[in-house]
Symmetry: C2
Subunit: 195 residues, 2 copies
């Protein structure tokens, strides 16, 4: 399917995904029209419809690629940390690196879901992303030996969401360190509950 040429000149598919990633993320999937994307990609309109089938599927592909990149980013951050406790906190460090980028515009899934219909492809992609994050926190919490890993994971996920939202809405990258500090308190409290 995806032959990942990459070495040679980028295919129309790659150019479209790259343009979609840039424009959809910067201005929103509703606001940005097909014409802007094909122009920015330097690609014919027919290529978009032959390759993806329509705007909705292009949005889906854009979100899936965001999911994959976020997964790699968080896992890389986690594997560079030592103790289980530090691995949990490393998630917030990895997230916080994004906040300092001047093109940071909030969580792509939150933005895309804002005006999405119930049951849409956007909702599916968001659900998949959120489930993965939850699982990551749950696995790390279990490794840390807390009595109720699901409970701690849920609380940390709230902080994770809140940090991304605050970094965007308040235009304040320090949300990551605030979330990290709060996470440390919650983790230590959960660890203190061990028998």
């Amino acid at each position: 399917m995806t032959r990942t040429p990459s070495a040679k000149a980028p295919t129309a598919r790659e150019r479209l995904l790259s343009a979609a990633d840039e424009l959809f993320y910067a201005e929103g999937v509703q606001t940005v029209g097909i014409d802007r994307i094909i122009e920015h990609a330097g690609v014919a309109k027919a290529s978009l419809y032959n390759t993806f089938g329509g705007k909705e599927q292009l949005i889906r592909a854009y979100l899936d690629s965001r999911h994959a990149r976020m997964r790699e980013r968080l896992l890389r951050g986690v594997e560079g940390a030592g103790s289980p406790r530090e691995r949990l906190l490393a998630v917030f460090d990895a997230q916080g690196e994004l906040f300092t980028r001047r093109d940071y515009h909030g969580c792509a899934f939150v933005a895309a879901s804002a005006e999405a219909r119930h049951g849409s492809a956007i909702e599916e992609a968001s659900d998949a992303y959120r489930a993965w994050v939850r699982t990551l926190f749950t696995d790390l919490a279990r490794d840390a030996g807390v009595p109720q890993p699901e409970t701690l994971a849920r609380q940390l996920h709230l902080l994770y969401d809140g940090a991304g939202l605050s970094a965007r809405m308040d235009r304040d990258p320090s949300a990551a360190t605030a979330a990290r500090a709060a996470a440390a308190v919650l983790i230590d409290a959960a660890l203190a509950d061990r028998a």
Copy 2:
């Protein structure tokens, strides 16, 4: 200006605001067009432009009314609580009441900001709302006697945001109780830091 007739038949302004509140909140300020609103309000198009000047100003008025209602809701919840600690937690209870409503669709300001231009009236309204929430948490934290009320307020605001976001994205109203439990841990930890 606003003579608040209310007793007699609702004015065009009131009908428009009511329709905007319903449709904008349920489907998004981008998705819902002028025509849908004036039809739902049973009002002529000219009335909208005479009264508000345009869609952007109508959105602004819609957000301002949401802000006012949310402020009343949270303050009512807080004033019903006893100790300073309970007053802080009451914010999450008041927020959680919203989550159980089947028409809950997330934070209106987050949704409206998702695809808003930088510097727009939407951003102004969101900033005002968020500043008010932050001040509420800060004042309550100060009343509770924690050493660094701003720090605790910031952390609780993260949980508040995360709860609203999770209730929407995960379609799970129990986000409020999870946030409340996490908030209790953070509050108690902050209180334990007192000299």
